[in-house]
C-alpha cells in the first residue's frame, strides 16, 4: 500500500519529521505555535539556551545556498543545546540518489539525530525521510518548489501575534506562486487554520495550473487582489524569470505588481506586510513599504528561531513509539 503522508507522523500520530504542512491537523499547527511562544522568552534571557536537546546531534544538510535559513536553524539548534554540524554540498555538482543515500547512512553511523535538509529538487526531503534510521528526524528546510514548512509556520506565528485570530482574515500572497515553496506551504497552513479568504495575485505566467484546487482565489490585478486585505505577503522574484520569458522586465513587474505605499493603501489600514526574504527592493516591494510601519519583515526573522526550536524539540522529543520503523 502507498504510504501517504503518514511518513511524517509516527504510529501514535506525533510529528516524527516535518516535511510539509499538508496533512498537519489544525491542532498540531497550533501546538507548534504555542510551543514556539514559550521559546520566544528564551531569547530575552541572560543565558539564551535551554538544555532540552543536550547530547543530540543536528546536521544541517544544505544542497542549496542559503544564509538566513541555515543561520536560524543553527541558532535554534544551539539554543536547544544540541551539537550542530553543517554540511554544505556544492550545488553545481549533482548529487545522485545513491551517493546521497550513502552519505546519509554514513552520517547515521556517526549517531546523528536530525537532518535539516535543503535541496533544489521537490521531494528531496521525502526521499531522505523514507530512508533514514527509525530514530532520526528530518526537517525540510526547503525542497525545490514543493515546501518550506518552517517558513510557513513562522509566518503563521507572526500573523497570530499581530492579528490574534485567523478566521476573520483576508490574506493576499503576491508574486511568483508558481516557483515558490514558501507560497505552497503558506497556502496549506492558511487553509488549514481557516482564514476567511486566501488570494494569490500574479500574472498568469507565475500562477501554476490548477492552483484553485488548493483553495485560493486567483487575481491578476494587484489592486483588486489587495483590496481590504488584512495580511499582504510579498514573494521574492528571481531574476531568472526574465530569461524564461515569464516577465518582460523588473521595471514592468514593479509597475504592475510591486507593493508601494499607494497600492498598500488599498488594503485595510492596519494590514501587515510580510516577506520571506531576501527582499528585492524596487522589484517586488518599495523600500518605503519594506521599512515602513506596516512591515513585520524583521519580526518574521526573529520569530523564525523560536518556531524552529519548537519544531526541533517536538520532533526529537518523542518517546519512541511502538512499531516505529522506516
Amino acid at each position: 500500500m502507498r504510504q501517504h503522508n503518514s511518513l511524517q507522523h509516527d504510529s501514535e500520530g506525533r510529528l516524527r519529521h516535518l516535511l510539509t504542512i499538508e496533512g498537519l491537523k489544525r491542532q498540531q499547527i497550533i501546538d507548534i505555535l504555542d510551543t514556539a511562544e514559550s521559546f520566544i522568552s528564551v531569547g530575552d534571557r541572560q543565558v539564551r539556551k535551554v538544555p532540552l536537546l543536550r547530547g543530540k546531534t543536528v546536521v544541517n544538510l544544505f544542497f542549496e545556498a542559503s544564509t538566513r535559513t541555515l543561520t536560524t536553524f543553527e541558532l535554534a539548534a544551539k539554543r536547544l543545546s544540541a551539537d550542530v554540524l553543517k554540511i554544505n554540498i556544492n550545488t553545481s555538482a549533482t548529487v545522485k540518489g545513491e551517493s546521497l543515500l550513502d552519505m546519509l547512512h554514513n552520517l547515521e553511523a556517526m549517531q546523528c539525530d536530525m537532518f535539516v535538509v535543503r535541496h533544489a529538487d521537490s521531494g528531496a526531503a521525502h526521499l531522505i525521510a523514507k530512508h533514514v534510521a527509525p530514530h532520526v528526524s528530518v526537517i525540510n528546510a526547503g525542497d525545490g518548489s514543493h515546501a518550506h514548512p518552517t517558513q510557513a509556520l513562522l509566518d503563521m506565528f507572526t500573523i497570530r501575534r499581530r492579528k490574534g485570530e485567523f478566521a476573520p482574515l483576508t490574506v493576499a500572497i503576491v508574486g511568483d506562486i508558481k516557483h515558490s515553496r514558501v507560497a505552497r506551504s503558506q497556502i496549506h497552513a492558511l487553509t488549514t487554520l481557516g482564514v476567511s479568504e486566501l488570494r494569490v495575485v500574479a500574472p498568469k505566467t507565475l500562477i501554476p495550473a490548477a492552483v484553485e484546487n488548493l483553495g485560493v482565489h486567483v487575481f491578476h490585478d494587484l489592486e483588486e487582489g489587495l483590496r481590504d486585505a488584512d495580511v499582504v505577503i510579498m514573494l521574492r522574484l528571481q531574476k531568472e524569470r526574465m530569461q524564461g520569458a515569464m516577465l518582460p522586465s523588473e521595471a514592468e513587474y514593479f509597475a504592475t505588481y510591486g507593493l508601494t505605499e499607494e497600492t498598500l493603501a488599498l488594503a485595510k489600514p492596519d494590514a501587515i506586510v510580510m516577506h520571506p526574504g531576501p527582499i528585492n527592493r524596487g522589484v517586488e516591494i518599495a523600500s518605503s513599504v519594506a521599512d515602513g510601519p506596516q512591515s513585520v519583515i524583521l519580526e518574521q526573522v526573529s520569530n523564525g528561531i523560536a518556531v524552529r526550536m519548537a519544531v526541533m524539540s517536538m520532533t526529537l522529543g518523542r518517546a519512541p513509539a511502538e512499531g516505529d520503523s522506516t
Partner: protein
C-alpha cells in the same frame, strides 16, 4: 518435430476463433487447428487443459538497453523476461545511446536476439541521423537490414521542415513512421502532468498541450505526405479524440497506449513515488478514462509495455532527478487481461490488442509472421492460466529492471508456456 497442444481454449482473434481445440505444430509452423492433419504424429504433447492458448504477444515498445546500457539490462535478460511473460516479439525503438541509424547496429541487435533465442527483436530504424533531427537517416538501407519501421524515439524532430521531409521520404519507401508526440519546448524541464498534483507537489509540469500540439502538427504533415503513421504511448484524452477524428477523415494513422496509462493517474504519484515517474507522464483520471474509451472505440488499437528497465539507483533520487520508466514486460499480459475482467473489452478483443493488432501495424499479419494461429503461420504461441492471482514482487521479476509501480499489486493470469517458432522459450508445465 511435431507438437500438439491439447485441450486448451484457443483464442485467435485474427481468425475470430475462441473455442476448445487442439493446436498442431510442425517444424515451427502451425500445421492445423482442431483435427490433426493426415499422417501427423506428435513427438510431444503439451496439456493445456483449463488454459488459454493464444498467439505469442507482440510488444510494440520495449527498451532492451543493448548495446550501450548493458549495466542495466541486456538483450539476453530482457528477452528471457519477455518469454516468461508470453511475449514472442519485441519492437525496440532507437534512443540516443543506441540510435539504430546504421545497418551494423541493426545487425548487432538482431544477432544478439537470435543468440539468446528467447524472443524475436524487431528494431525500429532511426528517422534522422543520430536522432538529431537534422539529416535523414538511411531509411531504405535500415529497412533492408531488417528495420520494420522508422522512428525518432523520444527525441523530438524540432524542425517542421525536417519532419515533413522525413515523412515524405518514409512514405516513398513504404515505411511506417512511429511517432512520440511531445512538443519539446512545452515539455522541457517537466516531470509530471501539469495539473492538481504537480501544483501540490511543486513539480514542473508537462501540459496536455505538449502532446496535443505535437499530434496536431504531425496530423497535418501526415495528411500532406500520405505517410502511414503510428502514434506511440498516447497519454491524453484530447489526443485520442484528435486521432479518432483523423481516422474518421481517412488518414492512415493508428495509435497504442502503454498498459500503465490504463490503470494509473498522476494521483498515484502520492508523495513523490518515483516509480510513477514515466514519460509521457501519468495524467488525470479524465485522461485515463479517455484512453480506455479510445481503446474500446478502436481509436487505440494496441497496448504496449513501454518497457524501460532501470537500475535501482535510477529511482532512488528526488522525483525530478529520478529517471522515468517502468519495467513493464511482465505486467503486459495480466494488465491487458484485467481490462476484460473489468468488462471494458471482451477477452478475445483484449488479447487482440497485444497480438493481432500490433502484428497488423508491423505488417507481420499478411506474411503470417506473428500475431495469429492461422495454418502456415509461425508457431509463436502463448499458453496461460487466466485464473490464478499472484502478487508482483521485485525479487520475482525476470527483467533486470525491478522498477514498477505495480509491485505489491495482485494480478490475475499467469503464463505457463511460451513457444517461439515452435521452440519452448519458457515453461512452468511438465
Amino acid at each position: 518435430m511435431n507438437i500438439t497442444i491439447q485441450h486448451g481454449r484457443l483464442i485467435d482473434p485474427a481468425n475470430g476463433i475462441d473455442s476448445h481445440a487442439d493446436l498442431h505444430i510442425t517444424d515451427g509452423v502451425i500445421a492445423a487447428v482442431g483435427e490433426a492433419p493426415d499422417g501427423f504424429v506428435a513427438d510431444s504433447h503439451i496439456n493445456a487443459e483449463d488454459h488459454i492458448v493464444c498467439p505469442g504477444l507482440i510488444d510494440l515498445r520495449a527498451r532492451l538497453r543493448e548495446p550501450g546500457g548493458e549495466s542495466r539490462a541486456t538483450i539476453a535478460t530482457e528477452t528471457a523476461a519477455a518469454a516468461s511473460a508470453g511475449i514472442t516479439t519485441l519492437v525496440c525503438p532507437p534512443d540516443p545511446s543506441q540510435p539504430i541509424d546504421t545497418p551494423a547496429l541493426v545487425d548487432l541487435i538482431r544477432h544478439r536476439a537470435k543468440q539468446s533465442g528467447h524472443a524475436r527483436v524487431l528494431p525500429l530504424g532511426a528517422l534522422t541521423q543520430g536522432l538529431a533531427g537534422q539529416q535523414l537517416a538511411e531509411m531504405a538501407t535500415l529497412n533492408q537490414a531488417g528495420c520494420v519501421a522508422v522512428s525518432n524515439g523520444l527525441q523530438a524532430v524540432e524542425s517542421t521542415q525536417v519532419m515533413r521531409r522525413a515523412m515524405e521520404y518514409a512514405a516513398s519507401q513504404g515505411l511506417t513512421i512511429f511517432l512520440h508526440a511531445e512538443d519539446p519546448w512545452l515539455a522541457a524541464g517537466g516531470c509530471a502532468h501539469e495539473g492538481a498534483v504537480s501544483v501540490r507537489l511543486g513539480l514542473a509540469g508537462i501540459p496536455e498541450a505538449a502532446e496535443t500540439i505535437a499530434v496536431a502538427r504531425e496530423l497535418q504533415l501526415i495528411e500532406q505526405t500520405g505517410v502511414r503513421a503510428h502514434f506511440c504511448h498516447l497519454s491524453s484524452a484530447r489526443a485520442v479524440r484528435m486521432i479518432a477524428r483523423a481516422q474518421y477523415d481517412g488518414l492512415p494513422v493508428s495509435a497504442d497506449v502503454a498498459a500503465h496509462q490504463l490503470y494509473l493517474t498522476d494521483m498515484d504519484i502520492g508523495y513523490f513515488d518515483t516509480q510513477c515517474h514515466v514519460r509521457p507522464p501519468l495524467r488525470s483520471q479524465r485522461d485515463r478514462e479517455g484512453l480506455r474509451e479510445g481503446l474500446k472505440q478502436g481509436t487505440i488499437v494496441a497496448i504496449c509495455s513501454d518497457h524501460q528497465p532501470l537500475g535501482a539507483d535510477a529511482k532512488l533520487a528526488p522525483f525530478p532527478a529520478s529517471e522515468p520508466g517502468i519495467s513493464g514486460l511482465e505486467t503486459l499480459l495480466p494488465l491487458t487481461l484485467r481490462l476484460a475482467d473489468e468488462g471494458l473489452l471482451g477477452l478475445s478483443e483484449a488479447i487482440a490488442c497485444v497480438t493481432q493488432r500490433p502484428a497488423e501495424i508491423l505488417g507481420l499479419l499478411g506474411s503470417v509472421q506473428g500475431g495469429t494461429l492461422t495454418t502456415g503461420a509461425r508457431a509463436d504461441v502463448c499458453i496461460f492460466d487466466p485464473e490464478p492471482y499472484w502478487e508482483l514482487r521485485a525479487d520475482e521479476l525476470q527483467s533486470a529492471g525491478h522498477n514498477s509501480p505495480f509491485l505489491g499489486w495482485e494480478l490475475k493470469g499467469r503464463v505457463n508456456c511460451t513457444l517461439l517458432a515452435g521452440e519452448l522459450t519458457y515453461h512452468t508445465c511438465d
